[in-house]
């Protein structure tokens, strides 16, 4: 009898799991259909293109591994990887901490809170051209706001975008300043923390710092994780502002991989090489992301396992 019951219940669990799987497929279908129709094809095509010579005008010719061989022996490619990591690590680490602090501030029940939040979001809305022009002015070695302020305290500022040493830090500063979306995501996350947790902590006599580390950070960890992962992906791919600001210079010191790919594709019209470089970038991004997912097990706290 008990054996039959066990079999029955096991079968019951089996059909339950099957039903859940069926529902899963129904729910994810919008994305899966879109992937098959609009994304999968172009991705496969770009793999094929990476094995060809193609300048967009004439039809592609087979190149075998030539593009990949060229890449391995291309010193500019390796330099651009170094620059990409410099920019990515700088922008993400500075950005994640700075925007989190701002979001915490903007989450305080203060007057004019809505106004403050709107102002912090403004840079993300201002058109790219305006942003670039503004920063070119702010960073100008002689007339720029930053160096004028530095001069007031007796420091002679660096030539920023004109120097191989300071161009990248300047671009990192800029990227942090335009991170309104990250602030919004943090703010949204902060609303989801049940008030009861803070009340309980307060009753237990936890200090502000302790409440931050033991309630806010673990409860926010999925959101912080999201910002770190997507921030890395975005900064490894970023190039538009760098293109307008420095065009990769001076002396290739801000030539990141995204900009190098853009150059190969739409300046030299070497689509095959650009495609091969893109797959190298994809590989870099995926390795970094996998490492992050691996580390996440240690610090990201989910409600569901």
């Amino acid at each position: 009898m008990s054996g039959v019951a066990a079999v029955l219940s096991r079968r019951g669990q089996h059909t339950l799991a099957r039903r859940e799987a069926r529902r899963f497929h129904l729910f994810v279908s919008p994305w899966v259909i879109g992937f098959v129709l609009f994304t999968g094809g172009p991705i496969l095509a770009s793999i094929a293109i990476s094995f060809t010579h193609w300048n967009l005008l004439r039809s592609p010719t087979w190149a075998g591994l030539a593009n990949y061989q060229k890449m391995v022996n291309d010193p500019e490619f390796w330099d651009s990887i170094g620059n990409t990591f410099y920019f990515g690590l700088g922008a993400v680490s500075l950005g994640v901490v700075f925007t989190f602090a701002l979001a915490l501030l903007l989450n305080q029940p203060l007057r004019f809170q809505g106004l403050f939040r709107t102002v912090m979001y403004l840079p993300s809305v201002v058109s790219g051209v305006a942003t670039a022009l503004l920063w070119l002015n702010i960073l100008h070695p002689d007339f720029g706001l930053i160096n004028k302020l530095l001069a007031l305290v007796g420091v002679s500022g660096p030539p920023w975008l004109g120097s191989t040493e300071w161009a990248m830090p300047a671009l990192i500063l800029m990227s942090v300043w335009g991170a309104g979306n990250t602030i919004v995501i943090y703010l949204a996350g902060l609303q989801g923390i049940p008030k009861t947790l803070y009340e309980a902590a307060e009753i237990d006599g936890a200090s502000w710092w302790r409440r931050f580390w033991s309630v806010t950070v673990p409860m926010m960890s999925p959101v912080i994780f999201f910002n770190v992962v997507t921030g890395f992906i975005a900064s490894i791919q970023a190039y538009t502002l760098i293109l307008i600001m420095t065009e990769g210079g001076p002396a290739n010191s801000t030539m990141v991989l995204g900009l190098y790919i853009y150059r190969q594709a739409f300046v030299f019209f070497d689509m095959g090489y650009a495609a091969a470089l893109s797959w190298a970038m994809f590989l870099i991004v995926i390795v970094v992301t996998l490492i992050q997912f691996g580390l996440a097990r240690r610090w990201v706290h989910y409600e569901f396992h």
Binding site: I49, N107, G114, M120, V129, L134, W299, E303
Partner: protein, 301 residues
């Protein structure tokens, strides 16, 4: 299904010496003052680009070319707004086009991101992890490289110079938004869902009555991103739209700088008008980011 993790807060520790209410009040007031000082300082830095846009939009054509540029114009030229908006380019027409494309794309984004996000967050299936990894993978491929194959695809469908390449893909999920929503769905306590399941609620009901109401801030964030993204969309519009009548505001702004390479004053004037809807929407949306999504019925957590 609830698993206590290492990260679960352990707050019990010997209570500190309690403060008198007067001391506590003083500490609170000092904290609030500090917060205001920091916020006002940050506001200055963040407001700068916008102020700069405003002052540039009010400069005379001659002052526009001055180098080094002065922050404040010597006289205010409000006519730049009218000249820019109703000059040689039909910006009112562009505005209507932009509204149509943005509204349809936003609707598509919202519908097609909620369902997969819920599935990835709370349902189990053998392909689940694989599909999730695949979706994240699509975010990692540089967009420039699928641009050309995608164009060939849409050209074969006869969609060039229509809004279809801009709108239709928006109805099939955006990986970034799905990932974001999924992260928020994972923070909702499992007890709430289990309780609803025991009461016989369907997945749709759980989604509609529990997940979505508790994720309002995240939904507001996604709507905002979708709005801004579609409103400012430039690259794809430039590729697919050919007839001037069909152009959007960003394309108009682009043409503007091509036509009058130096007339930044008018360009900034139109940019300011074009970004106003976003600012207004943001001001409304940020109100959902107010503390107080209270989770009732889960005592002892």
């Amino acid at each position: 299904m609830l698993v206590e993790t290492k990260a679960a807060p352990d707050l019990r520790r010997p209570g500190r010496a309690t403060m008198t209410s007067g001391q506590a009040e003083r500490v609170r007031r000092a904290q609030r003052a500090g917060a205001y000082v920091l916020l006002i300082a940050a506001t200055g830095v963040f407001l700068l680009p916008f102020l700069w846009m405003v002052t540039t939009s009010l400069k005379s054509d001659a002052e526009n070319l001055a180098f080094p540029p002065e922050f404040l114009p010597s006289s205010f030229h409000f006519e730049n707004y009218a000249r820019g908006w109703s000059g040689s380019l039909p910006f009112t027409r562009f505005l209507v086009n932009t509204i149509v494309i943005t509204a349809l794309s936003m609707a598509g984004n919202l519908i097609s991101c909620v369902l997969p996000a819920y599935a990835f967050a709370r349902m189990r299936a053998r392909l689940g992890a694989f599909l999730f990894a695949l979706m994240l993978g699509t975010m990692m491929i540089p967009r420039e490289i699928t641009l050309v194959p995608k164009y060939i695809l849409f050209a074969k469908l006869g969609w060039v110079d229509t809004y279809l390449p801009l709108i239709v893909p928006e109805f099939f999920g955006v990986a970034l938004y799905i990932f974001l929503l999924r992260q928020f769905f994972t923070t909702i306590p499992q007890e709430l869902i289990d309780a609803a399941r025991i009461d016989g609620a369907s997945e749709w009901r759980i989604l509609w009555k529990i997940m979505l109401p508790l994720s309002k801030p995240a939904l507001a964030a996604i709507m905002l991103f979708s709005f801004v993204g579609n409103w400012n969309q430039y690259l794809e519009s430039v590729i697919y739209l050919r007839t001037t009548e069909k152009f959007t505001i960003p394309l108009g702004l682009g043409m503007f700088s091509g036509q009058y390479a130096t007339q930044y004053n008018q360009m900034m004037a139109v940019s300011i008008v074009a970004m106003m809807p976003i600012v207004v929407l943001f001001f409304i949306a940020q109100k959902t980011f107010i503390r107080g999504v209270t989770l009732t019925g889960i005592a002892g957590r």
